[in-house]
Point group: C2
Chain length 220, copies 2
């Protein structure tokens, strides 16, 4: 089972490695990291690079596609090489999935028109504007499309995928293997539960980061 993990300039590392480490625990998988061109691809803060094994052109019929989010998504909403590839492979995938703002790319490719989907809480309006029926849940399934909310939700999204494909015991085994027994030291994981001043601060920081990232790629 070939699983295409999509990379692009400005992805978020945990968005893609979370699902990878979950799905890669399954037997008989062939994970492949794919980007417009093969080679190292930098994350949104240019603090790490993951290597793309193959170019988009070399991966034509993956059974699962995982599209991570990241500040880089905003520069790709009209970027046909990636959007056309997503449209084409989606015709034959078993599952097309995304994490965080990766769903903006699925939507920009036209795959989420009227489809129930989620994204990072700060990008919900943007996702709705791109045609999706936005649902404020952590993992959302609609037909062959499964989307996860912000960053760390990719772990839950991928475990949900394992459960749907291979059953409860398989999901339990993978969860135990990665010892996914969350115990955050604070309780502020969603905008509904976080203190208003924390929500405001994070909103400000993200908007500034987005502006800075867009400026950096425009200048390049």
């Amino acid at each position: 089972m070939q699983i295409a993990f999509v990379l692009y300039d400005g992805f978020t590392a945990l968005d893609i490695t979370g699902p990878h480490d979950v799905l890669n625990a399954l037997p008989h998988t062939e994970p492949v990291f794919v980007a417009e061109q093969a080679g190292p691809v930098a994350n949104e803060s240019r603090s790490l690079s993951l290597v793309a094994d193959r170019s988009l052109a070399e991966v034509t019929s993956p059974e699962i596609v995982v599209v991570p989010g990241g500040l880089g998504t905003r520069a790709l909403l009209e970027h046909e090489p990636l959007l056309s590839w997503l449209r084409e492979v989606h015709e034959t995938t078993t599952w097309t999935t995304s994490v965080c703002t990766g769903s903006l790319l699925l939507a920009a490719a036209g795959l989420l028109d009227g489809v129930r989907a989620t994204t990072h809480w700060l990008a919900r309006e943007q996702l709705a504007a791109l045609g999706a029926e936005v649902v404020a849940e952590r993992v959302v399934e609609d037909g062959r499309i499964m989307t996860g909310a912000g960053v760390s939700s990719g772990i839950d999204m991928a475990l949900t995928l394992v459960k749907r494909m291979y059953g409860e015991e398989a999901a339990e085994a993978v969860q135990l293997g990665i010892e996914y027994d969350p115990a955050p030291p604070v309780d502020s994981g969603s905008p509904d539960r976080a203190r208003p001043e924390i929500v405001a601060a994070v909103t400000t920081i993200f908007q500034a980061s987005e502006k800075e990232f867009v400026a950096s790629v425009t200048a390049a």
Copy 2:
């Protein structure tokens, strides 16, 4: 604040990207991926490569060190280039940390003698044999050393570090930023709660993977 993320042949991706995406959200950080030699470093299943920016020799006084786990740890328990480096940088770090079986490397370097520490549930005996006082908790702090349990615990470990260094509000902001609001679709994250047959299956799979990995590096 320089944060050294250590890479070696056979690391686990989520072990290192979890803490990275948490710590990298802080202002004024200088993350650096470091390995014996700079360049791409393959994970334990050879399914992805992260790029090391610098060699160990080039990073001499990081303020934080994060050592991931992975099947590759077993081949490094007497590997002086890495162990000496860990000993040397630990003299001046503010925090020396590990995730999963990364603590085996800290222990092999002599940094956990009589120190309270944790690891992946399948490696607890091995960690005790290396001199640590093993505690079956998700995040364990002892002096300047903080260790996390298996794989995904790196997220909780790093959030705990943020809380200790910058306070509760900072940890809350980072948690909200990565939308860490876990909702696993099954409840099997620890060996205490998982069904015995799942514990047995995962134990068998890990032992086989370990054997296979060791054989592959020995053959290379």
